[in-house]
Amino acid sequence: MKKLLLRTLLCILAAFVAALGMAQEDVTIRLSVWDGDKALETIRKIAHLFEQDNPHVKVKIENYDYTLYHQKMIITYAAGVAPDVVMMDGSHYQFLATRGALLPLNKFFEKSPGFDINEYYKPIVDSYTFHDQLYILPRDIAPIGLIYYNKKMFKNAGLPYPDGSWTWDFKIRPELKEKDFLWVCQQFTKQDKDGKYVQWGYAPGWPQMQADTYALQLGAPNYDNYAEPTKVLIDQPNHIKAFQFAADFANKLHLGPSNQESAGSLMLTTQQMFVQQKIAMYQNGIWEVPNMRKMLKPGSPEWFDWDVCLAPAYVGADGKPVRRYTTGGSGYAIMSSTKHPDLAWQLTKYFSGPVGMGEMAKAGIAQPAIRKLALTEGLWLPGKNTPLEEQYPHNRIATDQAVPYVVFDPTTQFGISVGDRINKGLEVLWNGQTTADKLLRENQTLAQNRLNDLRKQENLSPFNWTYAGLVALGIVAGILFWIYRPEFGRKLTQLERHDAKSGYKFLMPWLIGTAVFTLGPMILALLMSFADWDIIAPAKWRGVENFREIGVVDPSFWKSLSITAIYTVFSVGFGIVGSMALALLLNQKVRGVSLYRTLYYIPSITSAVAGSLIWMRVFNPDKGLLNLVLYGPNGKWPIGAALSQWIMGDVHKPVDWLQTESTAMPALILMSLWGVGGGTVIFLAGLQGIPQHYYEAATLDGAGIWARFKAVTLPLLTPTIFFSTITGLIGAFQAFTQAFVISNGTGAPNDATRFYVLHIFSAAFQSARMGYACALGWVLFVIVMVITLVQVKLGNRWVYYEAEAK
């Protein structure tokens, strides 16, 4: 009996220890993705299934916005806090792989029994292979060669449903017109009685998709060689032709909605326009299916019959159709910083394997990258038992048909910052405010210069940190010398020494803080401004090249500096005049001053992000408050028409404030005046500090309202004006958030909202060019310092200090 008891106890103890051991083995694997809300549901489900199969592993999903995704991966890797497994596509993996940030996957799958890389579609495997190593295990292949079409609209127009055998050549062929994509589009364009376009044939998911597809089909690539690019080719005639055509398609031919009509007036994505039956055809990848299903539930009032088919081919001079599609597609890669490479591989294989792909396929998000699965009925292709809602789209085989025509353009490690220049200002082209010929020729020069620079930098010598350290020490010594110069040769008494001791005790936090968080970084920034450093690979010595680039090469520097200066002058100028005027009004002994003060002040404390979102609606051309005031409720007021004529060059186009290059900055200035109440409070305090007897004396001398203002109020307010100007200028030069939110970090349209700080931010955290960003930063610091010092010097002449007058 005793033995049994002991044995049981031992067993329990052993189990407990084992459990404890297992508990300690619990591992969390972080997985980052850029999927939207709907896809995330599925991702979480797959993660959950994985956790059930691997009880000691927790999967933590982290989702990021796609526009910042790759940059976040680069800088989190540099900072040592990167996720273990990352969703990745062709655009940035080479940059990370050449810097050793991604693990080559071959060694993992070579020792995984039952795993066969040949089951995956070959084009995508090839494109994810770099120097004979696979870096991304594809989860899907996503040709952007699908047209979603509205069967109801086709039926009503008396047109046969498209089967994908159409072409988009310019010839109208009477005998085959239903196969002529442009003719088909034309059948859907409709205007209302005022001549406003209200229905169109086709729109791409995003403007550049259409141009890229045409360029591919015309055989006009971006580079001469995608593996080792030496020449940028965007000024080739066919490239220009394709881009101009994509712009004219909407703006001149009215076969699709222009940017102005969709994003501007309606504030709808082209997808929402398709769902609202404003366009009959919509091009995108298959990943939009879950959204479509959600918005077009069978039986709901929004529902209409829809399907997908292949996007048109191009027929060249020789009469042969050329079919090429750009493509999305993505997969999972493993960061080399992971502490659990084998588990990370298990997770990768799970997500990019039958289970993960199966779930994604069932949700309609992604065509499996394993061809066998992509051809399985009931999994990807709709089968007999597929529920009604998941039957859509029926023609899912189109994705497999599209695969032979996909062209991957893996962005080389140079691609990130060259690509920025290739695509610079394209939104102006889509808005019809420039020609492809002019824009692409300019961009050609910019991009080629950048590529040449990058190739040259491969041979730079390493940055010498020893010398840099010595220079830093020299600077520190110089600062200390300046601080203590007046004390040289002075002897302290015992009391003074005691005082000095306590003085430094009180100053200690600030001294440490300034050294570590301000002066140290400033010196580091100065040193780094001579370096080329992507924060992962070792820094290289670039000499004064960064500064030369700022002055001569960088296409955005002068633009961003000048718009920032304009913003500063006007927002500070109007701001001071406005807040002073309001304060003078409030100072007229009105009842409820404090209530007004509060109400005026509130806008200046509200969130800048939320404020920017609200103002985007205020500036909306069609449904915005500003245009309501200018154009009147019927939209016909003369002032609005005059503005339209003047700014947009067309009486019928309402001004699209934030999307037009010439009005975007004035709009931001107007928005900044919303915060005028912040200054009012300061001026009010200044006014209340003016002794009443000054006014009484002036009145006795016979001074009127204006004379009193000139002789008493204004001079006594000069210190407040001076203070507001200085802090206002320093603040305005640092404007960032509103432009970041409104342009989504791009500074669109064509850098018109690219504040200087946004320019620095994007150099550092979007292009990973720390050295260059530091150089830009120092230039800003010098500018702000010079302006402030000049102001202080000038201020001595016009600012009136009472103490001096006495």
Partner: protein, 295 residues
């Protein structure tokens, strides 16, 4: 007699005219002040109204029109979204803003005392250095600081957004508190010194209690500043569950382009706490501004 009467009526009519002008001016003043109120509040009206509309109404109705049925479900959608946990964002904003406010209050008052009351070698030049850091744009140090955070392992933590506050607390705040301290008569602390009190005793027992209103001002400004900060969290915080309200709203927006009714509901949620805080503490705002004569 007649002459006197004449001037009296003239005087009376002049007074009446003046009175009439005064009334007109008064009305004009009211109109202008009210116009200002409308201009500052109209965007808020727009936001609240839109946050309660359906997507269809956002697209088809005018900005000022009220929704037919109030769509409270927009708020529910936002608050229950697993991918943008707003309650978590709120918690993070509160932690970051309050911890750094505590840091700023402690350290800036200490340093201000040092500059205001003590004499030590290099003081004046150090004070010039302090003032000149005011014109240093924060982005200039943010890039190299990122390298520092990287080596300290502080990226994607709250440390870079809170710890520096304990080391100085900002040139501006130090300057403000120093000005305030200079206004407190020296007799009492000099008497205390003669009685053998140390500077830390004077600081804690005498200065801190007397700095109450100034500290409240600095504290509220600092809290709001940190709450509103977007650039710092944008650069430093990555994980979705670590983001602040400001950053979280932008993240949410990036994932839900053009769903304006939801974005406006999110904006309302982000704005409410700070507006309440301001209304509760505005007394100190105004006092602080009047006291120092500056922002």
């Amino acid at each position: 007699m007649a002459i006197v009467d004449h001037t009296a009526t003239e005087w009376k009519s002049a007074a009446k005219r003046a009175e009439r002008i005064a009334i007109v001016l008064r009305v004009l003043l009211w109109v202008m002040l009210l116009a200002g109120v409308v201009a500052s509040l109209a965007p808020f009206y727009l936001m609240i109204v839109m946050s309660l509309k359906t997507p269809g109404e956002v697209a088809s109705t005018g900005p000022w029109e009220l929704p037919r049925v109030l769509q409270w479900s927009n708020y529910e959608k936002i608050l229950t979204n697993e991918n943008a946990p707003f309650f978590m964002f709120l918690r993070n904003s509160i932690i970051i803003a309050s911890v750094s406010t505590v840091g700023v209050l402690l350290s800036s008052s200490m340093v201000a005392y040092g500059f205001a009351r003590l004499k030590f070698p290099g003081r004046d030049r150090l004070f010039i250095l302090l003032l000149s850091t005011m014109m240093l744009p924060s982005i200039v140090t943010m890039v190299p600081q990122y390298v520092l955070w990287k080596y300290l392992g502080w990226v994607d933590t709250f440390y870079p957004l809170t710890i520096p506050a304990f080391f100085g607390g900002g040139a501006y705040n130090i300057f403000l508190l120093r000005q305030f301290l200079m206004g407190i008569p020296r007799d009492i602390d000099e008497a205390a010194l003669l009685d053998g009190a140390s500077h830390s005793q004077i600081f804690w027992n005498f200065m801190m209690p007397n700095m109450g209103p100034a500290l409240a001002t600095v504290g509220i400004f600092c809290f709001i500043y940190n709450w509103k900060d977007f650039q710092g969290p944008l650069i430093i915080l990555n994980s979705p569950e670590k983001q602040t309200l400001e950053l979280g709203l932008q993240t949410y927006r990036a994932m839900n382009q053009n769903q304006w009714e939801l974005l406006m509901a999110g904006s309302v949620i982000v704005m409410i706490p700070i507006i309440f805080l301001f209304l509760a503490g505005q007394r100190y705002f105004v006092k602080g501004i009047v006291m120092t004569g500056i922002k």
